[in-house]
């Protein structure tokens, strides 16, 4: 029995590959986030591990104009939901939150950018870690006057979109990929491109034969 005539597979394949190429192009035209400013904690150490409800404010921070995210040096395997507020006095300048379930030694929380750099602000963050502990990384208190709950200063970085797109950074990224590996050299990127190209060809070959 013949299969009923459906839309031509090659048209769908071509369209979806074109869509994929477009998505890659659009993604690479975006800029990676860069650190606009940080509270300059040198040689950060984990100074406290907390469980349960936690909240702290760090004063004397500077929120740069255009910062789209705040990166806090908090360490967790299954991190809790975190809320961040940036206050100037009692005035809320910006805020953001990150859902639970993150894993890393730092967590990035998107915030609404402000138009002007604000000095002497307080960065307040709060979370409830019922079972999973959260490590606070930064500087022991003593070197600085402000602190998270009086025991240390959490490292804070303010991120903003970089000025250069991924496209313009492509050559730099490619040169970075040649180091820190076995047989370092320029062969890596062309080899990867050729291998991925071969994979795409295999997928196309198979896709075009699904109707047969």
């Amino acid at each position: 029995m013949n299969r009923p005539e459906g839309p031509r597979v090659w048209i769908v394949l071509a369209l979806s590959l074109a869509l994929l190429a477009l998505a890659i192009g659009v993604t690479l035209s975006g800029s990676p986030a860069v650190v606009a400013r940080s509270n300059a904690v040198e040689a950060p150490v984990q100074f406290e591990t907390v469980t349960g409800p936690f909240g702290a404010c760090q004063g004397n921070e500077t929120l740069p104009a255009g910062a789209t995210a705040i990166r806090l040096s908090l360490d967790s395997v299954l991190g809790p939901k975190i809320k961040v507020r940036v206050l100037q006095g009692k005035r809320l300048l910006t805020s953001g939150e990150r859902g639970s379930g993150w894993t890393a030694a730092d967590v990035t929380i998107p915030v609404r950018p402000v138009s002007q750099t604000a000095h002497s602000v307080s960065v307040c963050f709060e979370f409830v870690a019922r079972y999973e502990s959260v490590g606070l990384t930064g500087e022991q208190v003593g070197a600085r006057q402000s602190s998270a709950r009086g025991q240390g200063l959490v490292k804070v970085e303010y991120l903003e979109p970089g000025e250069r797109s991924w496209w313009s950074l492509a050559r730099t990224v490619a040169s970075h990929m040649t180091s820190g590996r076995a047989w370092p050299g320029v062969w890596v990127v062309p080899f990867l491109a050729a291998t991925m190209g071969a994979i795409v060809l295999c997928v196309c070959w198979l896709g075009l034969r699904l109707e047969r």
Binding site: L13, H176, V203, E211
Partner: protein
């Protein structure tokens, strides 16, 4: 090899369709790409797995200590030169790429080459694992003996990449046996698995999980074949061999055993008269052979008792603490939404989605490389569409499902056994830590079933739209793979 042997071998490989080989090739190539993209020792526990192989190469014996900071001098120097602990878990720190860093690394590696390497007997968390994967990794290790630690690691990663190919091959063969009738859907399911970024990432590193995925897929294939074609002494031998390989690869394979045992019982009950006697006899012989091999391995020291049940190995110490109900509650919530009346072991976390779904969508490196949050939300749309199509296919084939209840129950038990094992291991740390082992890589021994779900989704689109939807699914998985690789490149080299 005799002409008969060669003919037989050609017969065995000849009956594997070209498309299955293509899926295997793609999985291999994909894992190779991942092995180049992921910086050395940035696959979970890779320093420990490398240390295990080095220990085997230097002494001929498996490691005996789980001390995690005691690596041999050459590995320790490489880890230092690469800044592994600075990069690990800290996404703001890229991999080595400056000229000064590269020169420092080369100096470290050169110094390591001139220093005699002494075995430390330690392999961290890998210490309690069985030796088969590590023994196979001795081949590339020895091939790279004249090179640096990084040269050896790169060659060893290629061995893992080959295992990704085997995984995709067995997934294809599993689909051919379990979903007969619509042959194009096998290609869709197996190719989707070949392009799964988490398979590429894990199989692009030195870890026994790469082999575990292949052996687990082989186990599903063997059971499906026996259900479709009947249990014969030869198929019994195949199943038992795969079980032995799995047990010698990684102890997580234990999770599949209850389901496999159930499947064999169902298969034996289906046989009658002489065929049943022959199957039972084969089972008895195979069981005796396995027991004898296990005893011989223990007696000769090839496998130590510690590797069959050491407290160091996190996945073995699953008896743990707490009440049975507490354990059941925890394991349930580890994977599924909490039911009314259960205490909340994961407050504020929807585990099914935030741990397992998001993990499969993208969580690379030492769990420190993620997509932006919106990607995980957007991924719900294609995943939901695939799930609906798969359910549609199951509904359409419900009559066939009833007649294959025993086979389906076998797959369900295999999956449930693995999930219970992972959940039990996680429970050992609770309540100090909720969510230990909450990593989607532990689900990948079920890749055959995931391939089945994808193939069903393609079939669920109907006879007219099926191949078209199949192509769209393939490009979707290809896109997932490419964007995952770009994310990892951005994290380490951006």
């Amino acid at each position: 090899m005799s002409a008969t042997g060669a003919r037989r071998l050609r017969g065995v490989f000849g009956c594997v369709p070209k498309r299955a080989w293509l899926c295997a090739l793609v999985a291999c190539l994909n894992a190779t790409c991942w092995s180049l993209i992921t910086p050395p020792f940035q696959v979970p526990d890779e320093p420990d797995h490398y240390a295990y192989v080095e220990q085997l190469a230097l002494t001929g014996k498996p490691p005996s200590s789980s001390a995690i900071t005691t690596y041999s001098s050459d590995e320790a120097l490489a880890l230092q030169g690469l800044g592994t602990y600075r990069v690990r878990l800290q996404p703001e720190h890229p991999a080595v790429f400056s000229q000064a860093q590269q020169e420092g690394l080369e100096a470290d590696l050169a110094s390591a080459q001139t220093t005699p390497v002494r075995a430390t007997g330690a392999a961290g968390v890998a210490t309690g694992e069985p030796p088969l994967y590590y023994a196979l990794e001795l081949i590339p290790y020895e091939l790279g003996a004249g090179g640096t630690v990084l040269d050896r690691l790169a060659l060893m990663r290629l061995m893992s990449a080959l295992m990704a190919g085997l995984t995709a091959l067995f997934v294809f063969l599993f689909l051919r046996e379990s979903l007969p009738g619509v042959s194009w859907a096998w290609s869709v399911g197996a190719m989707a698995i070949a392009l799964t970024p988490m398979l590429g990432f894990m199989s692009g590193g030195v870890t026994p999980e790469a082999m575990l995925y292949a052996v687990s897929a082989a186990a599903f294939f063997c059971v499906a074949r026996a259900f479709r074609r009947g249990l014969t002494p030869r198929r019994v031998a195949m199943i038992v061999t795969v079980i032995a390989l799995g047990m010698l690869t990684k102890l997580n394979f234990v999770g599949l055993l209850p389901g496999l045992a159930f499947g064999v019982v169902v298969l034996v009950k289906r046989r009658h008269g002489g065929a049943r006697v022959a199957a039972c006899r084969a089972l008895a012989v195979a069981a005796a052979a396995m027991l004898a091999l296990a005893l011989a391995a223990l007696a000769t020291g090839a496998v130590r008792h510690s590797q069959l049940g050491s407290p160091e190995s996190s996945f073995q110490n699953v008896t743990g603490h707490g009440s049975l109900f507490g354990r059941v509650d925890y394991i349930w919530q580890f994977f599924l939404p909490r039911l009314p009346g259960m205490p909340n072991d994961f407050p504020g976390i929807f585990t099914s989605r935030q741990i397992w779904f998001n993990g499969l969508v993208g969580l690379y490196g030492w769990l420190d490389t993620t997509f932006p949050n919106w990607v995980y939300v957007a991924a719900l749309i294609p995943a939901g569409a695939l799930a609906l199509l798969a359910i549609r296919a199951l509904f359409a084939g419900r009559a066939a499902l009833r007649s294959r209840a025993g086979e389906l129950l076998t797959y369900v038990l295999m999956a449930a056994g693995l999930l219970i094992l992972v959940g039990s291991a996680s429970y050992t740390g609770f309540p100090q830590i909720a969510g230990a082992y909450a990593e989607s890589r532990y689900l990948l021994p079920l890749l055959a079933l995931m391939g089945g779900a994808v193939a069903l989704a393609a079939r669920g689109a109907g006879r007219r739209w099926g191949p078209t939807v199949g192509v769209a699914i393939l490009v979707l998985f290809l896109a997932h793979d490419i964007f995952s690789q770009l994310q990892v490149i951005a994290r380490y080299y951006g």
